[in-house]
Assembly symmetry: C2
Homo-oligomer: 137 residues x 2
DNA sequence: ACATTAGTCTATTAAGGAAGTAGACTGAAT
DNA sequence: ATTCAGTCTACTTCCTTAATAGACTAATGT
């Protein structure tokens, strides 16, 4: 399960994708449209900015906007940025790898299965971009 | 990410699968072999028994064993029993469905993507059984 | 220059779940 | 009767998630 934070981040990114090229979008506008607690959303957007996915402008006429075209950011990247691992178990994670305490990866049955699952998931999430995250209307 | 509890459960099931047909296996044996805190393991095994996956025998010569042949239990079933949802987001979960607060599933971009991911994951987890969970040796 | 707007930073907190522990109880075998 | 081994009840500790408050900083328009 993705955390609320990750879900909020994805929704916000989808919204900003749909507004791409239209200048800065207010936090409050995203908050209201997507029903995300504004203070919580602030920290999330800031994090996405630090990660380089978003850029911002302060003051009047300010707001947040995508740093690059929505098709350039994949779902896999977006999830990892705020939500951490995509894999179901640390020892098969590409970006958040941690060795299992006890088991030997060469023989561990759980390892093999989880790896297969991860591959299937990644195959999708690395193909989908923020374009697909936009709502239809 | 699967919880420790779920990981322990899967490891224990894999071990019991490898001992299938050999009578009851001691909790302490599973605990030692798989490096799982014994008291925590107790509660997990009990839960699996209540769910019907395991059976047990008390007293001398007692222990836990699979209720049916390992090929009869899929990974998807096992994970759901102790770990809850497999989907990344509640609104695309088959067994733990919850409606999104705000979004319309017909138009939500996140919904579509997450559904595709869930399908890919399930396709694997419903094919794999406890047989694949056994360690090679 | 100054007021307003809007993002940035620090800090704190409430709630809940994950992980693990302790000890008494019950049923089965010899 | 004794021992073995699972069962049950009740905690405790810790960490993460989710959220809030309020002061600070930068940009804009007049």
């Amino acid at each position: 399960m993705l955390s609320k934070k990750t879900q909020y981040a994805l929704k916000a990114l989808g919204y900003l994708a749909s507004k791409y090229g239209q200048g800065p979008i207010l936090i409050s506008e995203i908050s209201q449209t997507k029903k995300i607690p504004i203070k919580f959303l602030e920290t999330i957007l800031l994090e996405l900015k630090t990660a380089g996915v978003l850029e911002s402008k302060k003051g009047k006429g300010g707001g947040y906007y995508l740093a690059q075209h929505p098709k350039k950011t994949t779902m896999a990247q977006a999830i990892r940025l705020v939500g951490g691992p995509i894999a179901m178990i640390p020892c098969v994670s590409l970006n958040f790898y941690e060795k299992c305490a006890d088991c030997d990866e060469a023989t561990c049955g759980l390892f093999k299965t989880m790896k297969a699952t991860r591959d299937a998931t990644l195959k999708i999430l690395e193909k989908k971009t923020l374009i697909e995250l936009m709502d239809e209307y």
